[in-house]
């Protein structure tokens, strides 16, 4: 399983033909206490870089963009009852949605864990 990162602070786990998407620990730390996550409907076809989800903290709403293009297969129902999972377990239990991989070449521009870490260190 490969994990990629975007400069918008999302992570993508790739397993076979499916990608799981969430936001990084750095992102949740910046957003603060998360009180609501608006997830896309299953079956929605989303384009890379377009709005895919919205994260609401106490203070503000933030868009989450699709890191790649594809179709939403499943969303994380646990976030409905416990959106704070994004704070407590951003890169595991607090995943947002699973999607098909429309175009594998879109991974080319993404970062691996080491590259993402140095990207965050530079912020």
């Amino acid at each position: 399983m490969a994990r990629y990162f975007t400069d918008e602070h999302e992570w993508i786990d790739v397993e076979g033909e499916t990608a799981t998407v969430g936001i990084t620990d750095y992102a949740q730390g910046q957003l603060g206490d998360i009180v609501f996550v608006e997830l896309p409907d299953v079956g929605t076809v989303i384009d890379k870089g377009k709005d895919a989800a919205v994260v609401e903290s106490v203070k503000a709403a933030s868009d989450v963009y699709a890191p790649i293009s594809g179709e939403v297969m499943e969303t994380n129902a646990a976030l409905e009852d416990d959106p704070a999972l994004v704070n407590t377990s951003p890169e595991e239990d607090g995943w947002f949605f699973k999607m098909t991989i429309g175009d594998k070449s879109q991974f080319d521009g993404l970062m691996d864990e080491a590259a993402y870490k140095s990207f965050c260190d530079g912020l």
Partner: protein, 391 residues
Amino acid sequence: MSDDTDDTIAETETLPLDAWHRRKGARMVPFAGYHMPIQFDGIVSEHNWTRSQAGLFDVSHMGQIMVTGEKAAEELEKLLPGAIASLKPGKVRYSLLLDEDGGILDDLMVTNATPWIEGDVDAGDEGRWGEPAYYLVVNGATKWEDIGHLREFIDDDVTLTHMDEHALIALQGPSAATALNRVMRNVIDDMVFMESVTHEFGEWPLRITRSGYTGEDGFEISVPAEFAESLADRLCAEIEVRPIGLGARDSLRLEAGLPLYGHDITTDTDPVSADLGFALTKKRREQGGWMGHEKVMHVLENGPAQKRVGLAIDGRMPAREGAPIYSGDTQVGRITSGGFSPTLERPIAMGYVDTALASEGTELEVEVRNKRLPAKVTKLPFVPHRYHRGN
């Protein structure tokens, strides 16, 4: 604001507790022209701490203005719709600065700060009141315009002193009095909500006012900037007290139903629509003589087109400033501030709706990202005030 080039845009300034906040791990953001702490541990935990213990808030961005002179009260009454002349020394009143159209230029606290001059009791001189003085606390983002407005309309015999070398520290929460009492004995024992005293704490000349912006019991302490860090350290040494950022300040005041200037009240809103009629003292409504009187009386007599209300929103998705409010297909208002209530664990908001739909229990909808959320008009405050009003 001017649209001049970049170098006329004021640089973000630092306040006396800037380094103190950074040492405490604050995340700093620009606010009202200053670097301010938005949060320390996290907004929800700071919010809940303030509701259960006591929070220390740096509100030094706010404008502290001393208005002095024999005619200070009557001159202030030309601009403020509240009774100032009858405000006794040591008493505090919430008031408004209004423009000619009755629009709200700012909201503020006015304290009668007239000093008592001790006499020689042995010689039969009990003392006397000194020169009339009124201590104003105005919003940070509007303070320069407020000072200009006051200076323009108040007689030159009345002196305005901008106390810009004073910090302002708020201590808020059910344990605020306990903590403050341990630091300074016998200072606040007899004080109730909306009273103010001066106190020499060692060499620090303080003004302590029992007031705040959270709905809790608490105090606002004006302190010379040079002593601000030491005072903040003294207070935070108490087990009940933690520093709290602007984020929780906003969620606390929203739960308390308190309007935020520039959002819930602006020059486009008047005191009647804003449901701040209590700031219009009855006698002064009748007498007039204050800026905006004619327009405000017109709204009072005819009723406002819209009113500020509280809205409890179904579900968990917050509705924020700007969200339109609907009754059926008709837009009937707009949210002016909204967010998630940590105390009630649900979204709450304030906004203006057509007066016919402003009564408690009215079922409306707000629109967030093309979704309609059920919203019910709810009594303010959302979370009951717990001010110390005495026995």
